[in-house]
């Protein structure tokens, strides 16, 4: 990983110095252990801050979309002659590149508006799993060495197998290497084990509709509707989300559970064929809502009904934006 990090800093510095990118979105060292939050670099000298390790969690494509759409908005107020182009560089692992592909499929920006610094990925550490493994003690320091995470707490040092600490979506990741990139900063990472990709969905499908509904309502009752999941998700980029519209107002702002369910159902269905399983929404959820099970169900449906995997080819149209003769339609008449 260290080599990747060095290369990453060099390339980022060059891109900024040569003005091939105006800003680079990457990860930096956090102020707390286990965290490598997103950072935004414009000064070539600051490229030194970039890190790449198993604590880099967020899907940065979200910020690429933010920056480019804000820029486009700001340009609208200028005369055509005064308008400028903005190029955003982004540190991208497999799932991040898939989100970039989705943006391109959905014509959110052009390929030459972005520069992709591809990084090989072996998965990221799930903070909630770590907290559970450490059982309530405060983690004072953490680092990854080989295939273990070393943590220091007041009680001493502990070694945790990386496998136990990786996020579920990473463990079953099908595309951990960048699918598109302008610069690769390291060799391809070994493939992950995809055999269990839909295990929890298969289990879920066996339940009766009542049991499934109960599971859904139980999970959604935890949700406090902070919308962090939506805001972290690169595929959730509507300018104004329906939950924030006030004329008319679709959902109330109180604690009514049906309002929460409406929000969740709407968001989940908007993810059909658009979720890359990056886990960002789950990582930021303060309440530990099991969103992944529902997202994976939709992902499986997209695959089975429309032979579609989210964001794997920029030349393919978006799933819901295209019609194929092979598209299944019997589920419309005889839903399972």
């Amino acid at each position: 990983m260290e080599n990747v990090e060095t290369k990453l800093r060099e390339e980022a510095k060059k891109l900024l110095a040569e003005k091939k990118a105006d800003i680079i979105v990457g990860y930096e060292k956090g102020t707390l252990p286990l965290l490598a939050p997103p950072c935004f670099i414009t000064d070539p000298e600051d490229a030194e801050k970039l890190v790449w390790n198993a604590f880099c969690v967020q899907n940065l494509a979200k910020f690429v979309h933010d920056l480019l759409s804000q820029h486009r908005e700001s340009q609208k107020r200028l005369k055509p002659a005064d308008r400028t182009k903005k190029t955003v560089g982004v540190v991208a692992r497999g799932c991040t590149t898939r989100s970039l592909v989705i943006h391109l499929q959905e014509k959110q920006y052009n390929r030459d508006d972005i520069v992709i610094l591809g990084v090989p990925c072996t998965g990221y550490v799930d903070r909630k799993k770590m907290d559970a493994l450490i059982a309530g003690e405060e983690i004072l320091e953490a680092s990854v060495a080989g295939d273990s995470v070393l943590v220091k707490t007041a009680a001493g040092e502990r070694k945790i197998p990386l496998k136990e600490a990786l996020a579920d979506n990473c463990l079953a990741c099908r595309f951990n290497n960048p699918l598109i990139s302008d610069l690769m900063t390291g060799d391809h990472a070994p493939a992950m084990d995809v055999t269990q990709e839909y295990a929890r969905v298969d289990e879920f499908e066996k339940l009766s509709p009542d049991e499934r509904w109960n599971y859904f309502t139980r999970e959604m009752d935890k949700c406090v509707r902070c919308y962090a999941c939506r805001n972290a998700c690169p595929s959730c980029y509507c300018k104004v989300c329906f939950v924030e519209q006030s004329q008319p107002r679709w959902v109330g702002i109180g604690e009514d559970r049906s309002d929460t369910q409406v929000f969740q159902l709407m968001r989940l269905f908007h993810m059909a064929g658009r979720c890359v399983d990056c886990g960002s929404c789950i990582a930021v959820c303060p309440m530990g809502v099991d969103l992944r099970r529902f997202l994976k169900k939709l992902d499986k449906d997209a695959l089975e009904l429309f032979e579609h995997r989210a964001g794997i080819s920029p030349d393919e149209p978006a799933m819901l934006g295209a019609f194929k003769e092979s598209d299944k339609e019997d589920f419309i008449f005889t839903p399972k």
Binding site: G30, L32, P38, K128, N231, G254
Partner: protein
């Protein structure tokens, strides 16, 4: 002020006894979290815990509360108050920082000019029992930087301090003294315990690892409403409001009507300066257009406006926003950076 000594193994029983006659809110273990919740059969109060994830302000200022109800009838609107009966309650196991947040919230909700009847009714009926931090529970605690201390009794009615075999129990207010009867006939604390308390307090303060120049930034904020620095902090913010919802001192609210058919309720909800709906006006205009202005509001409100209005920083240093922000937007670092401007 009464100061008594309580054998440590007696405390759990006393809390249970109180909970038979009054509502008791205490930290309990819920799934993976420690949360303040009402005690009931089968819910054990935690005596040895770091701090709760949610701030106890919610018992005085709930996330949603009904202010009034209305029904449209043939003869016009019929209105009724939404008031629910407020019961005598005890809030047990509050950390000194959170107890101090009550003193800060009082300044706002119970000022000369405006009195908030909802908040005041609950506050007056609730006795706060604090638990001093003999060892500060987190490396992110910074209470001492914002005029607090790990062993302070500010905002509490009763303060407990673990001094070895006993708790030193200080009945700080007359409301606290009313609970004396539940504690039974306890021996009075003497000189020796006083000295011990002082030693423990000094040591606990020394154990605080995080220090920030919170009190130095006011003059800088006074003069820098416009500054390029404000462009730099918000970009990674997800506007989730976790920081403000978990914050013991954040208190912004929004009032809204929710109607079904002819019936409606007027509710007051927590708001958050982190949300795009914050200060959105009916016209569709919002004076705070982006997360930049919202983040500036958060910093200004805590470290400048509250100081201007009430003479106190609106942060108690509990560190919740630091620990739980999903993108590690650390207010301690922001304060440090502002101090360097």
């Amino acid at each position: 002020m009464e100061k008594r000594l309580l054998k440590k193994d007696k405390l759990a029983g006393i809390i249970k006894n109180i909970s038979r006659e009054m509502l008791v809110y205490a930290p309990v273990k819920e799934e993976d979290n420690v949360l303040f919740m009402a005690l009931k059969e089968g819910r054990e109060p935690l005596l040895d815990f770091s701090n709760s994830r949610n701030a106890p302000k919610t018992f005085f200022f709930p996330r949603t509360e009904i202010m009034m109800k209305y029904t449209r009838t043939g003869k016009g609107m019929e209105l009724s108050t939404g008031e629910v009966e407020v019961r005598e309650a005890v809030l047990f196991g509050v950390r000194p920082c959170d107890a101090r947040s009550f003193a800060l919230l009082d300044m706002l909700f119970e000022q000369d000019k405006y009195k908030d009847p909802y908040y005041i009714a609950r506050r007056e009926k609730t006795t706060v029992i604090s638990m001093a931090c003999v060892h500060p529970p987190y490396s992110t605690c910074f209470c001492t930087s914002v005029d607090g201390s790990p062993t302070s009794g500010e905002g509490a009615d009763i303060l407990l301090m673990d001094i070895g075999d006993n708790y030193l129990v200080e009945f700080i207010t007359s409301r606290g003294e009313k609970l004396l009867k539940y504690f039974g006939d306890l021996p009075k604390a003497g000189e020796a315990e006083e000295t011990l308390k002082k030693e423990i307090a000094e040591r606990a303060e020394k154990e605080i690892k995080s220090h920030i120049p919170a009190k130095d930034i006011k003059p800088i904020l006074d003069n820098n409403f416009e500054h390029p620095f404000w462009e730099t902090i918000h970009r990674k913010c997800l506007a989730c409001g976790t920081c403000t919802y978990l914050c013991p001192t954040c208190h912004c609210f929004d009032i809204s009507d929710e109607a079904k058919g002819s019936d409606g309720i007027r509710i007051r909800n927590w708001d958050s300066c982190m949300y795009p709906l914050f200060t959105l006006e009916t016209s569709g205009h919002n004076p705070r257009t982006t997360q930049k202005e919202r983040w500036r509001q958060r910093v200004m409100h805590k470290f400048k406006y509250y100081v201007d209005n009430f003479g106190a920083i609106s942060c108690v240093g509990c560190g919740r926003c630091v620990m739980y922000c999903p993108v590690n937007l650390d207010i301690r670092k922001i304060v440090e950076d502002i101090a360097k401007l």
